[in-house]
């Protein structure tokens, strides 16, 4: 329920929430649950479970590779919902991040109901624009899911008002004009985008794309309500020699980021 998203941001009281992304089924269905639990144990406040899709046009090479592995491993929408249920049982607050076609194909109402039943708190839809979201608004309202759309540095003020007005839970501010991926610095337009968004909504504003280190998390946490990290976690796993090392690397990055959002 979206009030559970509100609670997650409230729990972070006075600091930015840390939001960590990992695709379901990556590197395997069982390991992704274990790795997500490790992220939560190490201080990640909200988990974004990726629904692997064949044509992820907003994602850079790391996430493309990860979802490719997940799809080849047989990850389906049902596996994603099961993953959400399992990590929720272990104590996580979990959202799903999904491109639109898999949701439409599964059935908009069926997906929203299934996710709510699994304990999921919301959905980020990176390629669904508010203009196309009629059915989705009804379905998420009915099931109490948070509905997160994106704003970008190129969004006009009027556009931000429309997009933010359609969101519940929080607004996702894309820091950079570009695809997901680890970058040396967070886009300089991110702070301005957060300020422009905050002037038009009471919802928390979380910044994603390009945040990968404790120092970057600390910087973003000074002006945003949430810090979203994806590719950096994925890369830990892609580079690890085995499951144990992956879990250690993910935990260590989560602790570093968690210190970062606490200003340490």
């Amino acid at each position: 329920m979206s009030h559970r998203l509100d609670e997650a941001f409230a729990r972070a009281s006075g600091r930015a929430a840390l939001i960590g992304y990992l695709p379901a089924g990556f590197p395997t269905a069982r390991d992704s649950v274990r790795l997500i639990n490790a992220m939560v144990d190490a201080g990640v406040d909200i988990i974004e479970v990726g629904l692997p899709y064949s044509d992820p046009l907003m994602d850079g090479p790391d996430i493309q590779q990860a979802v490719d592995i997940a799809l080849r491993g047989g990850t389906t929408t049902d596996v994603v919902l099961t993953t959400v249920a399992e990590v929720t049982r272990a104590g996580a607050t979990a959202l799903v991040m999904s491109y639109w076609n898999p949701i439409e194909r599964y059935g908009v109402d069926r997906f929203a109901t299934g996710l709510a039943d699994a304990g999921g708190v919301g959905v980020i839809t990176p390629d669904l624009t508010p203009e196309e979201a009629g059915d989705w608004v009804e379905a998420t309202d009915a099931s109490g899911l948070g509905r997160v759309f994106l704003v970008a540095p190129s969004s006009s003020d009027a556009r931000i008002e429309v997009v933010a007005g359609m969101c519940t839970g929080f607004v996702y501010a894309a820091s950079t004009m570009g695809v997901t991926g680890v970058r040396a610095s967070v886009g300089s337009g991110a702070r301005e985008l957060v300020e422009r968004t905050r002037a038009r909504t009471l919802l928390p504003v979380a910044v994603g794309i390009g945040v990968s280190s404790g120092a970057q998390a600390r910087e973003v946490a000074q002006y945003a309500n949430g810090v979203i990290v994806g590719s950096a976690f994925v890369r830990c796993i892609l580079q690890a020699a085995d499951a144990t090392e992956a879990e250690r690397a993910v935990g260590s990055l989560a602790r570093e980021l968690s210190e970062g959002v606490r200003g340490r």
């Binding site: 046009l57 907003m58 493309q64 639109w100 076609n101 196309e132 540095p153 190129s154």
Partner: protein, 426 residues
Amino acid sequence: MTSSTQAATRPVTGSGHYGPYGGRFVPEALIAALDQLDAAFRAAVADPSFTERLDLLHRDYTGRPNPLTQARRFAEHCGGARVYLKREDLNHTGSHKINNVLGQALLADAMGKRRVIAETGAGQHGVATATAAALLGLECTVYMGEEDTHRQALNVARMRLLGAEVVPVTVGSRTLKDAINEAMRDWVTSVDRTHYILGTVTGPAPFPELVRHFHAVIGREARAQVLQAEGRLPDAVVACVGGGSNAMGLFSAFIDDPQVQLRGYEAGGDGVETGRHAARFAAGAPGVLHGARTYVMQDEWGQTVPSHSISAGLDYPGVGPEHAWLHDTGRAVYQPVNDAEAMEAFQLLCRTEGIIPAIETAHALAGAMRLGAELGPDAVILVNLSGRGDKDVATAARWFGFDLGAGVDAGLGVSAARDAELAEGR
């Protein structure tokens, strides 16, 4: 049906919907650029000097109007119907693709964008884009699936000769669909100074409407030419449908003439029943791909299923949203044509008319043979000869078992994998 047909011909300005199809399903970062493009397009359409500039380019550079050729000997294989070929193959760069590319390159110029990018499958759209970029002094990058760079090595060389950077795409299925993903990723990163010249009537609004607009010249010319030749409208207009731009350009002039059948032929590959095809209407379902709702080849979970066709230009799992709407309303009829059937038509046209068509186009020719048999000798059939087959010589030689010699093979770039595939398909 009249009202729904009209809806298909006239999308709501700015919303880009054709019934339930079309729209915009893209990252928010692209919305401002699509709005800018939409505004530039509408300003250009209303500006007589833009149209004049484009018309002059078409006359002096592309070689328009191109002729309508009556195919008398080929027609004997089409139930004796009178068959006319709209000769887009005679355009500069060898296909209809140049119509859209020149229009969009002028739009890029008008928007002050000095870099253009494009995706390409068979290479025809990439070559056309590289050509327009050279003509207007624009920087040009073309994304092409690695698999297609092997199939169409000659076109890769042409693009490089024209000064374009060709980026082989090594992710996903390494074909046209992945080239579009990569072009979108480039665009979202570089949109301030880059225009994406999308090559067909797919993608987010306003692309389907805009690309159709620039190809409508095909239909306008063909309509006048067939009226002059026959004193009446044709019974059917026929085109191959990958993304569907040549078909949309032709159909657009006849949609409001209910007595003219609109026939689109998509790639049946090894046969729809084998699963190795690109038959979106025969075997796909409504969904969202590359920014628009349309018919998509997808599995039960909404994952895109890789397409297959001997023709790289039809090897695409989606189709333009206006075609989806024309299909649902029944205004146009779409059927699959298998590789073998297309290659038979390919050879027939070579030998009866002295015209080597693109393999994409051969699907439309096979459709005309089927349709002619159905309509009989009194029928007039207009086929869009969308491209010439120079680029396909190696593939065709392989298919028909000619020995090109190893050196020639390497030069024409038929990959070993492709050879094996073709051998299997025989």
